[in-house]
């Protein structure tokens, strides 16, 4: 039996937001989240009952994140003057502000691979389907992403090494 969509949002809403944050940074994450769940609501009646909801939602989020980035490039916000201090992409309540510059500096595939694997908990086979390419390539992208993240974000080095 398929559960009401409200339950899907309850169970996966937070994880999808975290995934969007890693892929896009905290500012654009909310737009991507909204687009993802609206598209999911539209398609939900036709989703097979046996489908893996998390993988399905992350697949939608992946496409919506690409749309959000494209839209931002097409319609750059007009600014009268450049801000004096560089943004660190910090958004209150979204974690350590030092994390976001390090994450946003990763190549796209690496950032996507660590988001889908470490945040959403998808297998490398599922990630390979989303990113295209082989399972090994997905695994490599996540491993390289992790190495790069440790290089640029000291907290990842210590915390990662402890486990």
């Amino acid at each position: 039996m398929k559960q009401p969509f409200e339950q899907v949002v309850t169970q996966h809403g937070a994880t999808v937001l975290r995934v969007c944050r890693v892929v896009l940074g905290p500012h654009d994450a909310e737009d991507a989240w909204s687009e993802t769940f609206l598209a999911a609501l539209r398609a939900y009646p036709d989703l097979p009952e046996t489908a893996n909801l998390e993988a399905w939602l992350v697949t939608i989020a992946h496409r919506k994140a690409i749309d959000v980035v494209r839209a931002a490039k097409r319609n750059p916000l007009p600014v009268e003057a450049m801000p004096e201090t560089p943004t660190n992409m910090g958004v209150p309540g979204s974690g350590d502000p030092d994390l976001w510059p390090a994450v946003s500096g990763l190549p796209n595939k690496q950032r996507q691979a660590i988001a889908y694997h470490y945040v959403a908990g998808l297998s490398y086979a599922e990630i390979a389907e989303i990113l295209g390419g082989s399972v090994d390539a997905a695994r490599r992208a996540a491993a390289d992403g992790l190495t790069n993240l440790r290089k640029h974000y000291p907290a990842a080095r210590t915390k990662g090494a402890a486990s």
Binding site: P26, D96, L146, K159
Partner: protein, 204 residues
């Protein structure tokens, strides 16, 4: 197969906190977007009342379901998913008028509900009976037999009982105003205490 367990530290780092307020705001936005995009097949909310928490659900046509807590609201929503659509969201806005009228009713300030109803959960004779139930005025009662006569089928007393027992819109469609011929309560979907409470409210 477990390639998640190593690097738990990184997973924990990337698993950033999501505060309840942010999610609540996003969910309100989703409900609004869904309504706007015509994707909100069933909107629901809950309201506290003297007969317990009531679930209220509406399609774009109108109020489609009122459910007592004893019916198990999660179960009722699952059933609505099967009967109508799984595109169900908690979206109180569509139910603002219903909530207001229900609150007025329980405060003794409203005798007639005038919200739009969607009777698509009932069919045939049951639906016919439910369509006629609002003709029993506030504070009045009828017997199952009288209801059977009213709908032009005097022998269908038992079927009238079933129609009342399966009323998808209790309180608003007043099946609580139908009693046994001897004046005893008969059954009620919300339990006899609720039926007694509604009759007492209307007798006051």
């Amino acid at each position: 197969m477990n390639d998640i367990s190593h690097d738990d530290g990184v997973a924990a780092l990337l698993t950033t906190p999501v505060d309840a307020e942010t999610l609540a705001r996003l969910r309100r936005r989703l409900a609004g977007d869904a309504e706007h995009a015509d994707l909100l097949d069933v909107a629901y909310t809950t309201v506290e009342s003297p007969v317990g928490r009531l679930l209220l659900a509406a399609t774009s046509k109108g109020l489609v379901r009122v459910a007592y807590a004893s019916e198990d609201h999660d179960r009722v929503l699952e059933r609505l998913g099967e009967q109508l659509s799984v595109r169900i969201l908690r979206a109180p806005q569509r139910l603002d008028d219903v909530v207001r009228e229900i609150e007025e009713y329980f405060a003794g300030r409203r005798r007639v509900f005038d919200v739009r109803l969607d009777l698509s959960l009932s069919h045939g004779f049951r639906r016919l009976v439910q369509t006629h139930l609002p003709e029993i005025g506030y504070g009045q009662t009828r017997s199952y037999r009288e209801m059977a006569e009213l709908v032009g089928n005097p022998k269908a007393v038992r079927a009238v009982g079933t129609a009342c027992a399966t009323n998808p819109l209790p309180v608003v469609v007043p099946c609580h105003r139908v009693l046994r011929t001897d004046g005893t309560l008969g059954g009620y979907i919300g339990g006899l205490d609720a039926k007694t409470a509604l009759l007492a409210l209307e007798a006051a």
